[in-house]
Symmetry: C2
């Protein structure tokens, strides 16, 4: 049994989907640059130890995605003009974060099954008396990339309901008079899209996601903002300057 077939027994994901994923990876990594000819069906067949038809099915997928162009007698070529998909830079400081999202225009959606209380870890501060729940989809070029589930302290929300219903809560928060942000932290985890997330972000179920849990605490130690934001995993990039905070 081929190595891939053994792995298949573990994951139960169709072989041609697995092969397609491997090839897509090489293109996205730049191992095969736009215009390059990729390996022939025979080579791929030998490499992955699968039937020719299976490799073809895999390449079919990539062709449908517009990633490759095929030409009988010549070969299969990486399509030109693929733009960098890793465009969303996750920021690690408050000011950079606010700067990044201040021009975002979220599309608010009705909040079904709104959890009345946010999940709070011990370091997340004391809960506020009451929260308002906001739900929105972030998009770029009409392509959704993030889903935000936000608990906002009602007392804060009431200061500018209209703003909070049209902009990202964090950027409103940053500019709101009379609200003093004392601390803010974010936890990032890697997860997979559940049914609802997959549907709203238009990605396959179980595709990788980044789950950001962001908490803003005011000077009284109250968590005035608790946001759970799920991003498509394939569009984000996080740059960390390991010496940044030492130099400062």
């Amino acid at each position: 049994m081929s190595q891939l077939a053994k792995t298949y027994q573990l994951s139960r994901i169709p072989l041609y989907v697995q092969v397609a994923t491997a090839l897509r990876r090489r293109i996205e990594e730049g191992q095969w640059a736009p215009g390059d000819k990729i390996s022939t069906l025979e080579e791929l067949q030998a490499e992955f130890e699968v039937a020719r038809v299976t490799v073809r099915q895999a390449v079919d997928l990539l062709q449908k995605e517009g990633l490759v162009r095929r030409q009988q007698g010549k070969g299969t070529f990486v399509a030109a003009g693929l733009r960098d998909r890793r465009w969303l830079k996750l920021e690690t400081t408050w000011s950079a974060l606010i700067n990044t999202i201040k021009d975002n225009v979220p599309k608010f959606i009705p909040a079904k099954n709104a959890p009345p209380e946010p999940r709070l870890a011990p370091e997340d501060g004391r809960p506020a008396a009451e929260y308002v729940f906001l739900r929105s989809v972030q998009s770029r070029d009409n392509e959704p990339y993030g889903l935000a589930n936000v608990h906002l302290a009602r007392e804060v929300y009431e200061r500018a309901p209209n703003l909070f219903r049209s902009q990202t809560a964090l950027s409103v928060l940053a500019e709101l008079k009379g609200v003093h942000v004392a601390a803010a932290h974010q936890t990032l985890m890697i997860g997979t899209a559940d049914t609802e997330t997959a549907d709203l972000l238009k990605i396959p179920l179980n595709s990788p996601t980044a789950e950001a849990h962001c908490v803003v605490i005011d000077r009284h130690g109250t968590a005035i903002y608790v946001g759970d934001i799920t991003y498509r995993g394939d569009c984000i990039r996080l740059n960390i300057d390991l010496f940044g905070s030492m130099k400062a």
Copy 2:
């Protein structure tokens, strides 16, 4: 067609695998705690809009994994004794990073298909004259969680070959006399496990991963360390204090 079936058309992953992943998620998230009775087949069937047999197939998978226990006439219960898997804290400062990995004991493996040159982005500094390629698997409790592909400047490697062959390169680097680390940065992306990674980390193909690209630059602007480390996505957690660098 059910919502899930529509999503299926997008990902081409078998329905019962998708349902299984969704259920696994709920257990790992703690939505269903150990000992809890999970929804009945009828409820799940209605929720996911699939056939009863399909839900059964999904639960079969979880049972094989040891995550649930079934009892005829009573229901399906979450197995006891599942521990928190989110134990690996990715650090965002040099000192914290070194502190975290200094006790790691990597298992070095032969480097097949060693790329002679590391991939360097413009901000990654000038390449060194020559690199040594090191490959290792990081484990905890005999469970592999990370795969490191490291390019180390030969000139640096030669200063302590034995150390570099027994400890993580970064921690050796941090303590090496005569080597001045001027800058270090890390890029984090979310990806999926390819065949080789899946095999070495003992995870299913295409499961989510964190791909860290870490570069250390000496005082001459030379990239003396270029590491590509792939972590299991399900074991990492990244804490970011958004006010950390402002306070400092």
